[in-house]
Amino acid sequence: MPLSPALLALTLASLTQASLLLLASGFALRILRHWDLNSGSERQLELERRTYLVASLVAWVFGASLLSLLLFVYHAEQLSSQFVGAMCATGVLNANAWGWPALYLKMALFFAGAAWLLLNRVDNRAPDYPLVRPKYALLLLIAPLALAEALVQGQFFAGLNPDLITSCCGALFGPDSKGVAAELAGIDPAVSLTALYLSGLTVLASGLIYRWRGWGGHLFALAAAFGFGVALVAIVSGVALYVYEHPHHHCPFCLLKTGHDLVGYALYPPLFAATALALGVGLMTTWRRVPSLEGIIAAEGRRLAGMALILFAIFHGVATWLVLRSNLVLLGSG
């Protein structure tokens, strides 16, 4: 196991995240058991005050998951020089079976945290806190996610053995290899880019319907989650090729390097933020019929959906611009 500062930092962060969420879960259990807003007892007052602490803890975990996602990718990038066959982060994540799951869990934790905080925000605006129970029940589901993340990441780091020969993007996404990654990368850019725009249109349509009619929040969240997946596939199989101007370079991480104008920073943040907002909208519309929340969810959901749509539009705009400005010709003139 390579002992580097970033690795220590990531491990420390994951363990802290997990323990803070466990702490929050303890409070959540107490709240689930004893919450009674009509009581003027000191215990109820104490519970109410605890909710501020829990929200702060979740906010911290959320912020940490965002930064740790970034650090994880940076770190994998840097480790690539220590692995035979790894030329970038992709190769390092392939070094053992835990690399990609760790990344996915980090992403899941980020989205879960974002959705929970948005729900919490809405709930805090109704004087009877109608979502206290569902909210804290959900929190009990997020804690295992953080634990799993810490565990899987630990497995990944522990299993990193520099003597192992791993395969990098060239081999992983290459035409000769098998597996999901290769299949995804092997998708014809024309197909994946078409899928990207179709899913973009679906997101747009469902988002607009939600904004106009006030229903279909779940559909919007679903479309956005699906659109997020399609977007990642399209980046690997299509957009990346145009950025690197190389028909077989599929890496989703090299986009973050200076050599490629750091375009990843214009691509990923809007995509992640938009998806997080849309998931939050989907989650909160579950309770749109709660009397004290009806108006609040309607207004806040519309606002957030609008923001999500703008961010999705930015993502699609940047992706389109990257394809158009590229000197690589894959489509049309073939």
Binding site: L37, G40, S41, L45, E48, R49, N124, P127, Y129
Partner: protein, 222 residues
Amino acid sequence: MIRLAQVSKVFNQGRHNEVRAVRDLSLELDTRGITVFKGPSGSGKTSLLAMIGCLSRPTSGRIHLEGRLISNLPERFMTAVRRDTFGFIFQRFNLIRGLTVLENVMLPAYPLAPAPSTLRDRALDLLRQFHLAERANNQAEWLSGGEAQRTAICRALINRPRILIADEPTANLDSQLSRELLALIGDLADQGKGVLISSHDPLVFDHARVSRVVELRDGRLA
């Protein structure tokens, strides 16, 4: 109109040092004019004012403000009600040292975030009205007792509350200053503000402008 029904307040619930500050108290109050709660210390008048002013929640019982039930609101919403409805004047002035008079006056408006220039103008207007304009940029701890109390009144008025709550406002003032303060409070009542005062100072509850005196003893109406 403020309506209290069977309101109790217990401190240190369930412990050996449990204190019943207010017991089963029912009362209706007019939100105009000056109402004085009178009684010895420990009679529960401060606890009662704190509950009416949304500073704390009754252990049991209900409080309605203009028909709205406020006693079961979570702190977050009690604070919102308090900010909009009540202004507070405390026995020990409770100005923040190190801040200027102007900053102290503007402080309650920060969470509401009005435009900075509007807020400043409003605060300066109030200071002028209470003859503190030239003190605006002085530190709060340099003020004399009378000036400090007038600054506290300005601070209580910055969010334009309908009701002023004053807890033993004359306790740290001499008779002369107390009379001046009561005159100022009388003017505010004339402008339509409701005023609730707790006091055991005869200067206060015998004052001509007082419209009602409620006497408390051991957490009950006397």
